[in-house]
């Protein structure tokens, strides 16, 4: 017998499955009992089965290496699922809907009347320095006034069990395919657990995504032509681009497959000649999307795409410029943004955030840098961060200099101790820190995935969950306990 819950220590931690040594939380009882009854041999068999499923399914992600170019790695997956009670989840879901609704109103306002600035709630100076605010989009409003059609928000829980939103990814959030694939793997490996629990399904995401994209079609036709636009096979999220295209029955296109003609419409090159495109789910950053407007040397984009979009001849998701709200500095204002547009209190908490361009807050950060997490305003994937408590004095000093040189580009937050969940280490389990990235679709109405992608730091004590930095993932079960 391998797993002993009696010796599973959660002192000073909040664990998702275990209340205290030997006492699983209610919604995790069945699972903990099931795991306890497994022999070492059976655990190894389950791990092998999951490895083999991932191997055969070809679930991979790419890691960029300075020396070796990029390499495909098998998706690192932990077989112990992360469970959330459906009751708690429905509260979180409400909070996410509220948040994205307000954020979309905020973006639409910034590109049009800028009432939030006129009313003094959001400082104009913030906007002038925002890298992701695109002048080209001023005076434009996409279908339904929605800019960020697909959002991936990162949720964490601290060691008191409180849920926070850590960041909102509104540009080209990725990870949803791994959420779907994790579930496939678990069904192959743990079929009996699906009979024990009422686990809410996640599989309808691709059809919801399709419906939302189809809604955006400028041509009101039975079957609009929807395409997923990828930078190509060498992009780290290529697996996901191909996966979603396949699941939606959409074409997966690269920049050179598309062309904007003199009529300002977008066409794709097919074996029948040129064929009109209605909606593009683009997985390429703003900067590379249209060499006529942005990076002129971009080979990934389509010359004239922005022209076609502004002429109302093609739908783009997410809309160019939605990244303006993806800024770590804007993040600090989200509770105010919700209050301003919806006249409601934010349901989900923000992590207290110090803005380095505010003199008093900057002083505090420089003083206490050793205890804080410092983030650059516009990076993603965990790059360019300082984790104060885990860094050396030299690194603290380096970041003090960076902050002084460009205060607008940095925010700092107190170091949260993220919640944990039991994670396989050989044939035992140990607590490992994790987060959760649900995905929110906004069209005429707003839909949230059932759960999301749980990312887990595989190293003991580490809080870095990004797969690009050696994190792994778990399946996320929203379990309905009402029938028990």
């Amino acid at each position: 017998m391998a797993i002993r819950w009696g010796s599973y220590k959660v002192t000073n931690l909040y664990d998702e499955l275990v209340e205290k040594a030997g006492k699983p939380r209610d919604h995790a009882k069945h699972l903990c009992e099931y795991l306890r009854a497994l022999s070492d041999k059976e655990i190894n068999e389950l791990k092998a089965a999951s490895d083999s499923a991932i191997h055969t399914m070809g679930v991979t992600f790419r890691v960029y290496h300075q020396e070796e170019g990029s390499i495909d790695r098998a998706w690192p997956f932990d077989i112990v699922p992360r469970l959330i009670n459906a009751k708690e989840w429905s509260g979180i879901e409400k909070g996410l809907k509220q948040r994205i609704k307000a954020l979309n109103m905020f973006i639409d306002d910034l590109y049009n009347d800028q009432n939030i600035i006129k009313d003094g709630v959001f400082p104009a100076s913030m906007l002038n320095k925002s890298k992701n605010f695109l002048q080209e989009c001023r005076g434009f409003s996409p279908a339904n006034g929605v800019w960020a059609n697909i959002c991936g928000s990162d949720l964490v829980r601290d060691n008191q069990g409180k849920v926070y939103v850590l960041e909102d990814n509104l540009r080209v959030p990725s990870g949803v395919s791994y959420m779907l694939e994790n579930r496939q793997v678990m069904k192959r490996v743990f079929p009996e657990m699906f009979q024990k629990y009422n686990i809410l399904p996640v599989d309808d995401y691709p059809s919801q995504l399709y419906d939302m994209l189809a809604e955006m079609s400028p041509r009101k036709i039975e079957e609009p032509e929807i395409v997923v636009m990828t930078p190509g096979i060498y992009n780290s999220a290529y697996f996901e681009h191909a996966y979603l295209a396949q699941q939606m029955g959409a074409e997966l296109v690269e920049g050179p497959d598309l062309v904007v003609e003199d009529d300002d419409c977008v066409y794709m090159r097919t074996i029948n000649g040129l064929s009109r495109v209605d909606v593009i789910y683009r997985r390429i950053d703003d900067w590379f999307i249209d060499p006529e407007v942005f990076a002129p040397d971009s080979l990934l984009g389509v010359p004239g795409l922005i022209r076609a979009w502004k002429a109302g001849n093609v739908g783009l998701a997410n809309a160019p410029g939605s990244g303006v709200a993806d800024d770590k500095v804007v993040y600090a204002y989200v509770p105010k943004i919700i209050e301003y547009y919806l006249k409601e209190e934010a349901i989900l908490a923000n992590v207290p955030t110090y803005k380095c361009n505010d003199k008093a807050e900057r002083e505090y950060v420089l003083e206490n840098i050793a205890d804080m997490v410092v983030k650059p305003a516009n990076e993603s994937g965990g790059y360019g961060m300082l984790i104060g408590p885990h860094a050396t004095a030299e690194e603290h000093e380096k970041f003090r200099k960076l902050i002084k040189a460009d205060p607008r580009n940095y925010v700092a937050q107190p170091m949260l101790t993220l919640s944990t969940a039991p994670t396989m280490v050989d044939t035992r389990v140990e607590p490992r820190h994790l987060d959760l990235r649900p995905f929110i679709l906004s069209g005429k109405d707003i839909k949230v995935t059932t759960g999301g992608l749980t990312r887990v730091a595989l190293e003991k004590g580490s809080m870095v969950v990004n797969s690009s930095q050696g994190g792994g993932s778990k399946d996320t079960w929203i379990v309905d306990m009402e029938e028990e």
Partner: protein, 306 residues
């Protein structure tokens, strides 16, 4: 369908067929060597010749011995026709069109590539070689079956069928050309008993021996074997069958007039030539013409669709 995707489907099918045919070829050669008298130096050279890699081969290797040829034909990264290289290209192609082919087919292609990579040493020992190559053949048959049985028989599938049969026709003509020429003179004059084995080898290289027996039923001889391999419409690995498959698949594509025309011309040339009656010299010229015809079809497809 996107032009880029059509091109990828076409090449995916070609690479898969190439890997399978190469595996069959090596397997047959290994067996053939066991049957021939030791004084006949058939050896491994024909394999390199069949695939027109003579120059490439001698860039790296000194002797055409078993080990070098196996290395060259199975795992050599510098050889674009090696099994491993073909499967690697197939996998990269499949990856970029994963949303087009059935998921199970992608899984099989991926698994086959991994198997071939991880077990390459099995190609070098005679004992394990047969099983290793056979697994490649069977995996490809599985992929073909999956595609035939689970993929919509639409334009995407048509491009795959065209790719598969162009590759098969190309390989068939090469095998017939080289195998029928090898040692013929030597064997006929000195060892009539082995002439039979020679033609049996040709049949087996194209996996045609058993079907030939069922259809033809006479003692194996040059003329009947050539007729069977070149113009038997019922045998799925015969040249005419491959060309008919191309013709049929092309008809399903849009704007296919030119391509259908070129394919039909090649087919008529084949059926009117009575190649079985040609002397070895003339047979070689005829095969050259056929290869040029295949190159024309390939070019036309490229121009029309990619």
């Amino acid at each position: 369908m996107l032009s880029r995707v059509a091109s990828n489907l076409y090449w995916l099918a070609r690479y898969l067929e190439r890997a399978e045919n190469t595996a069959r070829l090596i397997n047959v050669n290994s067996h053939l060597l066991l049957d021939l008298p030791s004084k006949v130096k058939l050896g491994w050279e024909p394999i390199v010749d069949i695939l027109s890699f003579r120059d490439k081969f001698y860039e790296t290797y000194k002797d055409v011995d078993e080990k070098s040829v196996i290395n060259f034909m199975v795992v050599d990264k510098l050889n674009p026709g090696a099994i491993l290289t073909s499967l690697k290209s197939a996998r990269e192609n499949a990856r970029t069109i994963k949303e087009i082919i059935p998921r199970e087919a992608w899984e099989q292609i991926n698994a086959l590539y991994l198997f071939v990579t991880e077990n390459q040493k099995d190609a070098f020992t005679r004992r394990s070689r047969y099983a290793y190559l056979n697994k490649i053949i069977l995996a490809n048959q599985t992929i073909s079956g999956l595609l035939a049985g689970t993929m919509s028989h639409d334009e995407a599938y048509a491009f795959m069928r065209i790719g598969q049969h162009i590759e098969r026709a190309d390989m068939s003509t090469r095998i017939i050309d080289v195998r029928s020429a090898t040692l013929l003179s030597e064997i006929e004059s000195e060892l009539p008993a082995f002439s039979n084995i020679q033609w049996m080898g040709v049949l087996k290289s194209m996996t045609a021996y058993q079907m030939y027996r069922r259809e033809v039923r006479v003692r194996i001889n040059r003329e009947d074997v050539l007729t069977f391999l070149l113009t038997n419409p019922r045998f799925p690995r015969s040249l005419v069958h491959a060309i008919e498959q191309i013709e049929r698949a092309v008809t399903e594509l849009p704007n296919s007039k030119d391509t259908v025309g070129k394919t039909s011309r090649v087919k008529n040339y084949l059926l009117n030539a009575k190649p079985a009656t040609l002397k070895q010299e003339k047979l070689h010229e005829f095969i050259d013409d056929m290869q040029l015809g295949l190159i024309e079809i390939d070019k036309q497809i490229e121009d029309s669709y990619f």
